[in-house]
């Protein structure tokens, strides 16, 4: 590829004198109660945080939610939680997920500083499920709440890196006169259940 060789050569020729990468070890924020901070952060981005001692308690809490009560087509990838009736593996195309009312997905960790949950979406048979669903429930172990993004990325580095994302609250936009509208293209609601 001539473009490649030429670009690399020009970038080498035009590079300024090398500077060292900065030390990131002094960065970060620690909260007295990260779980409480997490719930606050999630509320701030339009989501809702539920605490449950165990999965049966989580099941009872979810049953109270209108988004769960009224859902007809449901995907659940958290064993023992929710009444799943759509099997991802049985769908030939992700497009068939259009019209999905609720997805209940496991999250690997939750970030107190910004309400985000890391979802390892490479495990999902159809990746679209987290965004095409009308409502989203994410389930995270309470011990997996970290303080900030530095801690989150450090934890994630320990697992194989594939396709994953941070989800912080429901899909939103403010593109029309800066008026915040929840439910732009993805999930209209995002509930995070912290278990334990």
């Amino acid at each position: 590829m001539p473009g490649r060789e030429e670009l690399l050569a020009v970038l080498r020729r035009n590079a300024p004198r090398e500077t060292p990468p900065p030390d990131l070890s002094r960065l970060g924020v620690k909260y007295a109660d990260p779980l409480e901070q997490y719930a606050l952060s999630l509320k701030g981005v339009g989501g809702a945080c539920l605490r449950a001692a165990d999965l049966p308690a989580a099941e009872r809490a979810l049953a109270e939610l209108p988004a769960c009560r009224e859902a007809r087509r449901v995907v659940t990838l958290v064993p023992g939680l929710g009444q799943g009736n759509v099997d991802l593996a049985s769908l030939s195309r992700p497009h068939l997920l259009e019209g999905l009312d609720l997805a209940i997905l496991p999250g690997d960790l939750a970030v107190a500083e910004n309400g985000a949950v890391w979802v390892d979406a490479s495990r999902l048979h159809h990746r679209a499920v987290f965004v095409i669903t009308q409502h989203l429930v994410l389930v995270v172990n309470a011990v997996d709440v970290v303080h900030d993004m530095h801690e989150a990325y450090a934890r994630l580095q320990e697992q194989p890196i594939g396709y994953g994302l941070f989800i912080s609250g429901p899909s939103k936009t403010a593109d029309i006169e800066q008026a915040l509208v929840i439910g732009a293209q993805g999930a209209r609601s995002c509930t995070v259940v912290l278990v334990g």
């Binding site: 020009v10 987290f130 594939g162 293209q185």
Partner: protein, 465 residues
């Protein structure tokens, strides 16, 4: 210079801004809308105890990356390829557009959904593809609105910030069949959601920009609030990610620094709703990463202006800029407006964009809010000097500078000029003093001429004490 450069026609910022402020109420509304976003940024950033350290770290990472860009690009290519992505290189906009079109045409794809990418705007990708039979749908709500109006975005983060909801209501009534007269943002957003879902389901490929490309892992990271990039990359099997070469960062850990800064600086959110990390294609799918130079390597050679390559496109400098807020994005006549655009645009074509470095009060507010500590107002000032050096200053300014240089060189001439101003200006008819040449006096009164010069007043004061 490449073909798209030549397509950029000369813009006179002052003349375009005059048209914008002619509608006084609207100009104020625009100013306030952006100031509100700036205030949200202040609240979000002040809640982060290590904010200034974060900015230092971000600036340090970017400076380090620029000093080893070739090595990181090679590392990125190797890692991305080993994960199954195909990496393409484009020297300019024309090559970029040709690569994207080839990927689509070889697979017989005629429907493309796009999430926000300023790079593809810079390359004028949409008209290129549309002329070749590809239906391109911009899927960010603001971008879809301006696309339906056949306009470019007026702001890089808030593409439709210049429009009122009533105008969007009329547009959607005509284009999407919403109720006539309806202008409720929730109703209009819901209509767009339905319309865009259809486009996502029909698309053969999804194109995204890239916020960060990680050399260490070979991954690209895309940040959105709406989830449109995620819809566009999880439904169609082909994902094309287009990035300027300056989007590289060295390490996975560096993402923590930038994800903490980006959304807080842009809109005052603690993080974007979706921050998606792509490493290789999905099973059975394809991931193409197009790395574009288009003048960036040339800018790297310039010690004065290379720091502006660190820009992460958050838009904070626009929201805070007193000139941008009062003149609107279109007055800059380039895809990236505001303070950062006033540096990047003349770097591409100094003659066409020579008025932009003067669209600034040099107050330095942009430099204060920049999350990667670009010395924006210093670079804007440096561009003014560069424009003078290249002889690109319009003749009235050039003549005024020449006269001033002579007057300031000779003490007697300076004193004579002062005496004339004090004695003669008060005697002149108003129509002459506030004539066409007096741009300063258009909306302002000149201060009354003092009776004596500072030098005389000082002497008198010293004699008395």
């Amino acid at each position: 210079m490449n073909p798209t450069d030549r397509a950029e026609h000369a813009v006179d910022h002052a003349a375009a801004a005059a048209r914008f402020v002619a509608d006084d109420a609207r100009a104020h509304w625009h100013d306030q809308a952006l100031w509100w976003v700036r205030k949200k940024r202040d609240v979000a950033s002040s809640a982060v105890p290590d904010w200034e350290l974060l900015r230092d770290a971000a600036a340090g990472i970017k400076a380090h990356t620029l000093s080893r860009l070739a090595a990181y690009l090679e590392q990125f290519e190797q890692q991305a390829t080993s994960r199954g992505a195909q990496v393409h290189f484009a020297r300019d906009a024309a090559e970029h557009n040709a690569i994207v079109h080839r990927i689509l045409s070889e697979r017989g794809i005629t429907k493309l959904v796009k999430s926000k990418s300023m790079l593809t705007e810079e390359c004028h990708l949409n008209p290129y593809l549309e002329a070749r039979g590809v239906t391109v749908t911009d899927t960010d709500l603001g971008e879809r609105i301006v696309q339906l109006r056949h306009e470019p975005p007026s702001h890089i983060v808030l593409p439709a910030i210049h429009l009122k909801k009533e105008e969007i209501g009329e547009l959607f009534h005509a284009e999407l069949g919403t109720e006539k007269g309806a202008s409720d943002p929730k109703y209009l957003t819901e209509a767009a959601r339905g319309h865009l879902r259809q486009r996502f389901l029909e698309a053969g490929a999804g194109l995204t920009g890239v916020n960060f490309a990680v050399a260490e892992t070979g991954g690209v990271v895309v940040c959105t609030n709406e989830g449109n990039a995620d819809m566009g990359t999880t439904l169609p099997p082909v994902h094309i990610a287009c990035m300027g070469v300056e989007k590289l960062i060295p390490r996975w850990q560096d993402l923590a620094v930038f994800t903490r800064l980006l959304a807080r600086s842009a809109t005052g959110q603690p993080v974007t709703t979706y921050t998606t990390h792509f490493h290789g294609p999905r099973p059975g799918g394809e991931l193409h990463i197009v790395v574009v130079d288009n003048g960036r390597s040339r800018q790297l050679a310039d010690p004065t202006f290379r720091r502006s390559l660190s820009c992460i496109r958050c838009g904070a400098c626009m929201n805070t800029c007193p000139v941008f807020r009062r003149s609107g994005g279109y007055s800059y006549g380039w895809i990236v407006p505001g303070p950062i655009g006033s540096i990047l645009a003349p770097g591409r074509d100094a003659a066409a964009h020579r008025s932009l470095p003067f669209a600034s009060s040099l107050c330095g507010s942009c430099t204060d809010v920049c999350p990667v500590r670009i010395d924006l107002h210093h670079e804007i000032l440096a561009w003014r000097q560069e424009i003078v050096r290249r002889g690109l200053l319009p003749w009235p300014k050039r003549a005024a500078m020449k006269v001033l240089a002579v007057v300031l060189r000779f003490t007697w001439l300076y004193r004579l000029a002062g005496w004339l101003a004090r004695r003669v200006v008060p005697l002149l008819p108003r129509g002459l003093v506030y004539g066409r040449f007096n741009g300063w006096g258009k909306q302002r009164e000149l201060p009354p001429m003092p009776r004596e010069s500072f030098r005389d007043a000082y002497r008198r004061h010293r004699a008395r004490t």
